[in-house]
């Protein structure tokens, strides 16, 4: 029924023999390793420049705020894996809308109802995105962008009379268990769940198959369209969860709290080693890439670099990592 081996061998055709480090890493079938090399490198630079205690603090902060990159990255990863062209640009607006809805409903009906309402909104957006793509045959990049405009307007109408999230939720979101922030634990649990979903379930194997060759997957009996639909709904739900947690940590939902995550969600997925053309995902790479990007940003902040310099360095790093990691195996 569910044999991962042929699929995996199809995903990475024999790479040309190379003796370089890049070639070795590629032959290891560990495209995620690059992001960790980067993250550890930046971590070591931090430690050598600022000393261990400050570096430790930076890493702990990364575990709170870098976690949001992981969350948005996971949703985006699923969408990107479902095949060339699939992408979800509605993530930032879903974050804003779900944050608003979550906080409003929590004030009225309790924390769990708030989470449920926000997640429902996220799933609904995902379904709408899928329908735009499937029924109206609009390319995903434009479809999710257009829907994000509409969601933004809905979020604006919801933004009036915004209160702070319930104190209990705020305390939980900023709390720690055994020194590890709760948020990092939530992201960890979700990551494990998604890794299991991707690698050990029929749905996950089907998703990889659809991403590699939708026609072959369809002939093999994978329900291609149902898989794609679920992927967009999952991405919406994860973005919604991110929105509520972000509102909890920052003391209330704002309209622009998700804006920076649009480009970052794509960056962490691809730097993490997930194949842009779909069909091969890596959860652990999303963590590596998120830590890498967050630590880099933190180091530049600590160095007191201006916004311009920080942005340039950030961009060059992204390009450098991609160039170093090198090409897609199949064209």
């Amino acid at each position: 029924m569910n044999q991962p081996s042929p699929l995996r061998s199809a995903a990475s055709p024999a790479a040309e023999p190379q003796v370089t480090l890049g070639g070795r890493l590629r032959n290891l079938r560990a495209p995620w390793a690059w992001s960790f090399v980067g993250a550890i490198g930046v971590g070591m630079v931090t430690a050598s420049v600022f000393g261990l205690s400050i570096a430790g603090n930076v890493v702990l902060t990364a575990l709170v705020f870098g976690v949001f990159m992981v969350l948005v990255g996971l949703g985006q990863m699923l969408v990107i894996t479902s095949g060339p062209g699939n992408i979800d640009l509605s993530v930032p607006s879903v974050i804003a809308l779900a944050g608003m809805i979550g906080v409003h409903v929590m004030a009225a009906a309790g924390i769990f109802a708030g989470f449920a309402a926000a997640l429902a909104a996220g799933v609904a957006v995902g379904l709408a995105n899928y329908l735009l793509i499937r029924v109206l045959r609009i390319p995903p990049i434009i479809a999710t962008l257009s829907s994000s405009f509409i969601i933004q307007s809905v979020a604006i109408t919801q933004s009036r009379g915004m209160n702070a999230p319930p104190a209990a939720l705020e305390a939980f979101a900023n709390g720690r268990l055994l020194g590890i922030p709760h948020l990092a634990l939530i992201a960890l649990v979700l990551s494990v769940a998604i890794a299991v979903l991707l690698h050990l379930t029929v749905f996950g194997r089907g998703l990889s198959a659809v991403g590699q060759n939708p026609r072959a997957a369809w002939l093999a009996g994978v329900r291609v369209e149902a898989t794609r639909c679920k992927v967009y709904m999952l991405s919406g739900a994860i973005a919604a969860l991110t929105g509520v947690l972000l509102a909890a940590v920052s003391g209330g939902a704002t309209l622009d709290m998700g804006v920076e995550y649009m480009l970052i969600s794509i960056a962490v997925v691809v730097i993490g080693g997930t194949q842009v053309t779909g069909g091969r995902a890596t959860v652990i790479g999303v963590w590596g890439a998120s830590m890498f990007l967050f630590l880099t940003n933190a180091v530049f902040n600590a160095l007191g670099a201006g916004a311009g310099v920080r942005s340039i360095a950030y961009g060059l790093l992204i390009i450098f990592v991609v160039v170093a990691a090198g090409g897609r195996s199949a064209r």
Binding site: P139, I141, W218, G315, I318, I319, V323, G326
Partner: protein
């Protein structure tokens, strides 16, 4: 019906689609505001069309090789910032900076091909670089437009409003270069069938570098024309152009894969989107829903494709 006839029909529909969507958006405007159907009315309606047309053609050049440029918006902003600062203070330095930007663009194209890396991520990183450079040049909104530039952009053409004349000229030049010249055919082949092309002995690196360089040139033109219209610049001036340009190319009948693009279609597509934005101003809707209406119009216009194209075909 033979396959050949089907292809012909598809081609004709593809060419008709952008015209059709432009008419669909123009008719309600003329009905709501008959005054717009005049020299000045059209001039106002299409005021911002020229920079968007340039940005769309830049995106089109990149889409021709099956890539996507997520940095064009920030590149246009950077070009405008260079125009508003260096080009005024030290014209030669400004020109040199703009040329350097174009060369950098071409180099990135070569790099993408050479390392066969995904364009989306590289241009994503590039967008941070452009924005950073723009912030360094112009930390807060300001600067001035060179006088010749503002003069050029506010030039009143006889009979037909200037933006229309400009757009037609740009489309004509673009069409001849990309669709009619042998160099154009060669670079389009890079998107259509890269393997055949490299077997034939043509350099993929060169084609990609050329197309990215062309995108850079159009990006610079877009930034300068935008600066001529707004007379001041800002590092976030044109960020929305990135997605607007992709939408315009698709609206114009272009495809993400296969080097299948249409210059005329893309120009019409960008004009349609410009008009759609002006359309909202006439409707008197609440500011809350302004953005949402943009999305709705984008969806409505793009869904026209379903009506015109054969539906249900599995890719």
């Amino acid at each position: 019906m033979t396959p050949a006839m089907g292809t012909m029909r598809n081609l004709r529909l593809r060419a008709l689609l952008p015209v059709f969507s432009l008419v669909v958006i123009l008719v309600p405007i003329f009905i709501l505001q008959p005054a717009t159907f005049s020299y000045f009315g059209l001039g106002l309606l299409l005021n911002l069309a020229v920079p968007i047309v340039f940005a769309t053609l830049a995106q089109l050049a990149v889409i021709t090789v099956n890539d996507l440029d997520l940095s064009i918006g920030s590149f246009v902003s950077l070009a405008a910032c260079i125009g508003a600062t260096l080009l005024v203070r030290a014209p030669w330095l400004g020109v040199a900076a703009l040329i350097a930007c174009v060369l950098l663009y071409a180099a990135i194209g070569a790099l993408i091909e050479y390392r066969s890396i995904p364009s989306i991520v590289v241009t994503l990183g590039l967008s941070f670089v452009w924005t950073g450079l723009a912030v360094l040049l112009l930390p807060s909104p300001g600067g001035t437009s060179p006088e010749w530039l503002s003069g050029l952009m506010t030039f009143q053409t006889p009979l037909v409003a200037a933006p229309i004349v400009w757009s037609v000229v740009i489309a004509l030049v673009g069409h001849v270069l990309l669709m009619r010249s042998s160099a154009g055919v060669r670079v389009r082949a890079a998107g259509g069938n890269p393997r055949a092309m490299s077997r034939f002995g043509w350099s993929m690196v060169k084609s990609r570098a050329i197309l990215y360089g062309v995108a850079g040139v159009f990006g610079v033109l877009s930034g300068l024309s935008l600066l001529g219209l707004t007379t001041s610049a800002d590092s976030n001036l044109a960020l929305r152009y990135t997605l607007l340009s992709i939408a315009a190319v698709i609206l114009g009948g272009g495809e993400f894969i296969g080097g299948r693009v249409s210059v005329w279609g893309a120009v019409l597509g960008s004009i349609t989107l410009t008009v759609a934005a002006s359309f909202l101003a006439f409707l008197n809707i609440s500011p809350d829903w302004q953005v949402g209406m943009q999305g709705a119009i984008l969806i409505a216009v793009l869904s026209l494709r379903v009506l015109l194209q054969r539906s249900g075909a599995r890719k």
